[in-house]
Symmetry: D2
Subunit: 380 residues, 4 copies
């Protein structure tokens, strides 16, 4: 039986909480501890009890919370172990400390598993996926964040399909990225944002196509999958700065508001500007306030408040903001820009200039490269 188990693919599932594992309580839906594994055991497509018994799976793995999928279409056996967090969290309640915990758990178990699945609430899932993408340095294995809009214990729900798809991808495809899997699509995690609070199709990746689609067949778009350019060892950076913020501009925003928002200990701000990175250039008071802030060492990223779009250094329109010291954020989502700031600002070995350079650089596929001339026109 040892060779049998040696051929298995192993996935670690970190169950952090979220709607997927909630049940109805007097005050509304709330996470239900110690219930998920027992429930999954009853679902034959999520646990092959016969194989488990015949192969002495529990004896071999010695973890109580180990389950095994039926043989996949690709003829692989995926064994998965669920590590349940205590307490389980509604994702609205997650903080950078929880990201650190997840990161550490991936690091600690990195060598023993082929891939990782993070069960998570949808509300802050795009933030967590973005944060993990930066924290995980030199990642060589798939980390797939997923969850659901309806609890897996309900009759009709999206949790079964999301968990299953995430397991099949994490266990079988070498996509060395922090991804988000939802509603039959695999996205790069730091490209996602939650766009719909009421539909199973809750997420989108506005400026990058999906990495894979799971319809009748699972089709990976290998051209888009991130190719790491280093051979360095995987490690998780767990230092994160909390002195960060998001500031969306709007017509008539007062200088007082901006000033208040930029006061110490603020260190980094994602400014959600108009269109392709525009802001008033007829408001010297506002621009002076921003200039003062960047002069004093605050990093301000210029990201658009449009769902889709690019803030490029080549556009004239953002000139006033660039002059005020803002860094063009290309097509980063607010979630990606914010968590990147949190990651970069905590690198105490870097000086401000190096941090700013890092913020403007593509680290994990979170932004489209800038300045590259578009070679669309081919002269005959």
């Amino acid at each position: 039986l040892v060779p049998l188990h040696a051929a298995e693919r192993n996935v670690l599932v970190l169950n952090t909480g979220g709607t997927i594992g909630m049940t109805m309580h007097p005050g509304g839906l709330a996470p239900e501890p110690n219930a998920l594994v027992n429930y999954l055991r009853k679902l034959p497509f999520l646990h092959d009890a016969i194989y488990a018994e015949q192969s002495f799976l529990y004896e071999y793995y010695s973890y109580a919370d180990t389950l095994v999928l039926p043989l996949s279409e690709q003829k692989k056996r995926i064994v998965y172990t669920i590590l349940e967090y205590v307490p389980l969290l509604d994702s609205s309640n997650m903080t950078p400390d929880d990201w650190v915990k997840i990161g550490k758990d991936i690091e600690k178990n990195y060598k023993n598993y082929d891939g990782f699945v993070i069960l998570h609430g949808t509300d802050t899932m795009a933030y967590t996926a973005s944060a993990l993408s930066f924290m995980c340095e030199h990642l060589g294995k798939p980390v797939v964040v997923t969850g659901s809009q309806v609890p897996i214990y309900e009759i009709r729900n999206d949790g079964r399909g999301n968990l299953l798809g995430a397991l099949l991808i994490a266990g079988q495809f070498v996509i060395p990225e922090v991804c988000l899997y939802f509603n039959n699509k695999l996205y790069r995690g730091n490209r996602t944002t939650k766009v719909d609070a009421g539909s199973f199709n809750a997420f989108c990746s506005p400026n990058l196509g999906p990495l894979a689609t799971a319809e009748i067949d699972i089709k990976v778009n290998w051209d888009e999958v991130w190719k790491p350019d280093t051979q360095d060892t995987f490690q998780v950076s767990t230092d994160l700065s909390c002195n960060i913020g998001l500031l969306r501009i709007f017509p008539g925003i007062t200088c007082a508001t901006v000033k208040a928002y930029l006061q110490p200990p603020m260190k980094g701000v994602v400014m959600e500007t108009y269109g392709s990175g525009n802001a008033p250039d007829n408001r010297p008071d506002l621009l002076a306030e921003l200039k003062e802030a960047t002069d004093s060492g605050i990093i301000i990223m210029n990201c658009t408040q449009c769902l889709r779009g690019v803030v490029s250094p080549t556009y004239a329109t953002g000139t006033a903001l660039t002059a005020a010291g803002l860094i063009p954020g290309s097509d980063m989502t607010p979630e990606a820009a914010l968590t990147k700031l949190s990651y970069v600002l905590a690198k105490t070995d870097l000086d401000l200039k190096a941090m700013k350079e890092m913020m403007g650089k593509n680290l994990r596929g979170e932004m489209s490269c800038q300045g590259k001339p578009e070679l669309g026109l081919r002269d005959s």
Copy 2:
């Protein structure tokens, strides 16, 4: 000829600026004054010079900047007069003062025109359309805001089509709303948001279908068109509060940030929460801060940061925020909620309670009604 002119439909075009009327200058695209009318005169589908001459149009109207469309498919003559603002504004530079100016111009000319078109930059167009929808009380004629992503002077652009569609709708359909027309679709203005900085299809109305589509035929979805329930006289409310703000929450947001943002003279804040209106309920410090603010008279609206979704008072998840005094914002866009705050907070004849009630009520179709039980299930 008088009867001829009497049968015409009259539209006033307020040209406030924006990309549609920009030309290339050394520092980039910038509004070009005194150019639009002359350019439009050269486009036969936007000006019927022969009719103008034969009907002594200029003598009759005595405005230099009056043009006339060819006979429409619906056999109407639409005469339009362009009033150009000085200076023309990039919409990034527009402020509530500009909204007031637009509102006053509509009010001043209300009786003399069948409809109004506002040419405007796209960057803040959704804000302006939202603000005008509240400022225009008891509106009985169409006000159509439009513009373009590419200047009308460029060879290939979306300005010609957008202006033409806006004129045809404002001149022929009694849609008594402030609308936004873009890329062949007419939306309720206070439902829109700019979602794409790089496409002609720049706007969407995430929680309400279009009021009309202009494909081979112009089809109005009359079921969705707003039916005013009063017979009061049209008037424009030009008092707007500037002590307002948008605060998007994110994991790890510090209490200091929230406190700084809510400090005086702040009077009203749109809080962009997670999903269906969620925020951490395990952060007593944060909730206390919010409670203190609402107790002190600040109105805080609970709106989702998801593009689509509803924040409803019936969800348990937002309980903590409701307890902290926040008002559920249903499916209002941030643009609508913010400008509604600006409008309501300036009603000095109202006390705080009345203002709060007004904020939670559907005033101009900007939000779906709440509390109405969904009668989806019909028992046999």
Copy 3:
């Protein structure tokens, strides 16, 4: 326990075959008899074994193949009995005889059930749903056709979700139509067509929105649901004509081809024309051939080969075809038009004129009403 069972909703599932119940055989996927019920029993969300036991369900219903769903979100108990066809059919192999069998089974069991689910292959599902919609006269209960693109026995599949959704709708909502449920959407059956051979989102209803969507909540679009205008007794018309055909025109189609296709015993043809119902009007040979056919009593329907679009009698473009005796098919799909022909041509009590009138009339919501002037323009 009797009152308990009395409160249950009863659904009859006719399992005709199709991918949903296939397993891999040496020659490829093939229907697997006597397997579905046993498999469903193992899925707790499709069968509540504890309730079944405690309520003596099997004793009460005395059918071996009766299962019961867990309590639904709407607090209903749906008991369903599966009637498996012998042999199970790949839907490519289904014929009008099979439609008759399904129709008779519905008729026979009509009084004893609240709704019906038809499990069916996807290849001809839109044809079957269309045919049943005509055969079922004065239908007062939901008949929901569904199936899947991947067998329910596979790990990752769309069969579980499709079956579950169909059961929940058939058992709880009084939608008195033959519907098709697929990928979280309920369509009017005679409006559907299979548009994608490789995706879970295999069907669309090109000219009518969905009757219901099943996302986080099941939302029925009651405005679109068919309201029967008679109080007549439900009956199934099982006479169907087989002398029918589909003829798609294309540039250069020869007269010989058309002539060959229209030769006896052909009685009715759906001609798939261009755009809004156009065909060459400079081909007197072709038009004469068509005229001769309609004169001889063949009914020819003019339907568009475009996925979306309307063939209206008011368009000038189809004049030549109308002159040749073709009947404008409005926005009927080819599947609907063909099965409607099959149904109408078998009404031996009708003369040709009455049959033609019936073909041009909206019988089951399969076509948008014609000739109704669109009141889009409202003059002030």
Copy 4:
């Protein structure tokens, strides 16, 4: 001035007719001869009269119907000459003879122009684009077919934008394909089909993404653009077979119908089958009829009646049809398969075997390669 003109790009526009150039006549819309050029001269964005005069354009080119665009965004001058067909044709009336005429005109003028635009009605545009793609052998310059849903003479129409986009692409981008440009998208012509009779977005390319999109910028997807693999000389093959047909199967199709359709002089048939290329395999009569036809030398292509999907030789489901001699058509549209048959069957120097091989091979990007194993799974 000669160097000035030498730097210009030259496009030949073949105006074959269609809605784009129609005006209202007593019997409905009909093509209006000798009107287009004069109308275009009045539109400054489609003709730069000042440049034409200053550069002595008419003297230089000596064609009456030569116009010149204003300087493009890419700083090119595109001069275009319109060759108007007599008579102008409604595209419903076009036949393979018209395709031959277009092909010959391209061949005759090939050396003198940088690109070609074909103005054409929408009804059979996808057929013409498909046919031309096969007829044009070793094409090295862009041929862009376009037209509109609303005449260019109407106030609001899609003709201006479609013509302009087609000219800018044909004059500036070396896309050596027969393309179809519509509603801001450039498609490979033999991949298109008309899907909407009532919208400006009338075409789609169901199994291949657009070659280019023309939003704020024109972006070419160079990865998808066809790379010719030979250096042979461009030539137009003008032999086309007319003994071809489209046969869509449906449940209950009679053997008599199939037999009638396949009778001489039929030489090639596109059979529109179910799903991934399925047909009844329990109908020996039908299969025998098909076998007899293919044995007798008729080529039958197996294409799906689904809008999207692939008929692959590797699927078991189509086994019976392959055994009956049908050739799997991959993801070819019916339009492409039909015109390819017309082209291949006319190659009298080829024997039947060679013709069949040619039909199963990708000639002009009209089908996705078959048999290529999908390397989706990458083992670690």
